[in-house]
Amino acid sequence: MRKFLSIGITTTLIIILLMGVNELPTFGEYDNPANNEVAHYYIEKATEDTGAMNIVTGIILDYRAFDTFVESSVLFTASIIVLLLLKKEKNSQDTEIDETIIQSTILKEVSKVIIPCIQIFGAYIIFYGHLSPGGGFAGGTIIGTSLILYRIIYGKKFTDKLLPYSRLIRYLCGSIMFYGLLKGYSFITGGNHLALPQPSLGTPGNILSGGFLLPLNILVGLIVAITIYFFFTLFDGGEI
């Protein structure tokens, strides 16, 4: 019964929505309404306005930066809620839960080589976010993953010493606050048409170009990496 109901609802929904799609403009055509002057403006002016070679980065960190700010706070909120839900009180249980530290020497030696490579790759994606595909989110995720690998391979004690909870949360809050203040400065000067000093855009194509883009990318990367690491540790044992 339930199955038929679900199939019925699905098909009705799909048919209703497809009736709408039927009338929408054709896929891939040049003169779709979506490709209007706004898109053209972005393509034409992005490099000039923001100093980004990657137009998408220019849009998310400059034209529509407010979205990105709110979105980082979505991530922050989620990590806070997961913290709220899954964090165990210290000393509530005996901490001698049998932890499976992998004892293989091969793994440790290989990871010594590989993990820095992953981190360098992540850092590259963050730092070149305004020049090539990628940016804070992807790069931050990659760095976060490398931290997770550390934890898997070397065990909890090692990472706790390296990245204690208090330091992580300080970095997280500090970077997101700094992000808010930096962007807030830019928003308010822009909104009031104030001619306060703005960072210079530099030569497009250089790594040190694009004004706020590079620091913003780094901050976003930091936020994402720490959040990802939080998620992992909290889901894994609830202790951080």
């Binding site: 039927n22 054709t26 706004v38 972005y42 393509i43 849009i59 989620a78 889901f235």
Partner: protein
């Protein structure tokens, strides 16, 4: 009908959306529900991206010389959906944490069993 065949990406996205919707709404298992939510979200992202695509254009990254307005696809949907992906991940993480907690509390992740337990 012709519109559907022309817009085959959108059609596929809508079908995926419907399936994800049905899984989210009607499936009994919480983990499956969350997977359904993810499918629904990615389907919408696909819809958006398909709307931004233009046949024969490059990705919106300037390499070397600028090719002018007619060289690149519409960059806006990509930017929007980048935001969307992160939102989806946050929601997923929250829902999964809740699932773990629910399991700790009730000992099951089947929705109707959880609802039944109210009467006890």
């Amino acid at each position: 009908m012709e519109g559907l065949i022309n817009n085959y990406y959108e059609t596929g996205a809508i079908i995926l959306f419907g399936i994800g919707f049905a899984i989210l709404l009607l499936h009994n298992n919480l983990i499956k529900k969350i997977i359904g939510m993810n499918i629904m979200d990615t389907a919408i992202f696909l819809f958006f991206i398909a709307k931004g695509y233009i046949i024969g254009r490059d990705a919106p990254i300037i390499i070397g010389a600028h090719k002018g307005v007619h060289g690149y696809i519409n960059p806006l949907p990509s930017a929007l959906m980048l935001t969307g992906i992160v939102v989806a991940v946050s929601t997923t993480a929250f829902a999964l944490a809740l699932t773990v907690k629910l399991y700790d509390g009730y000992g099951t992740i089947e929705v109707d069993e959880i609802i039944k337990m109210r009467s006890d």
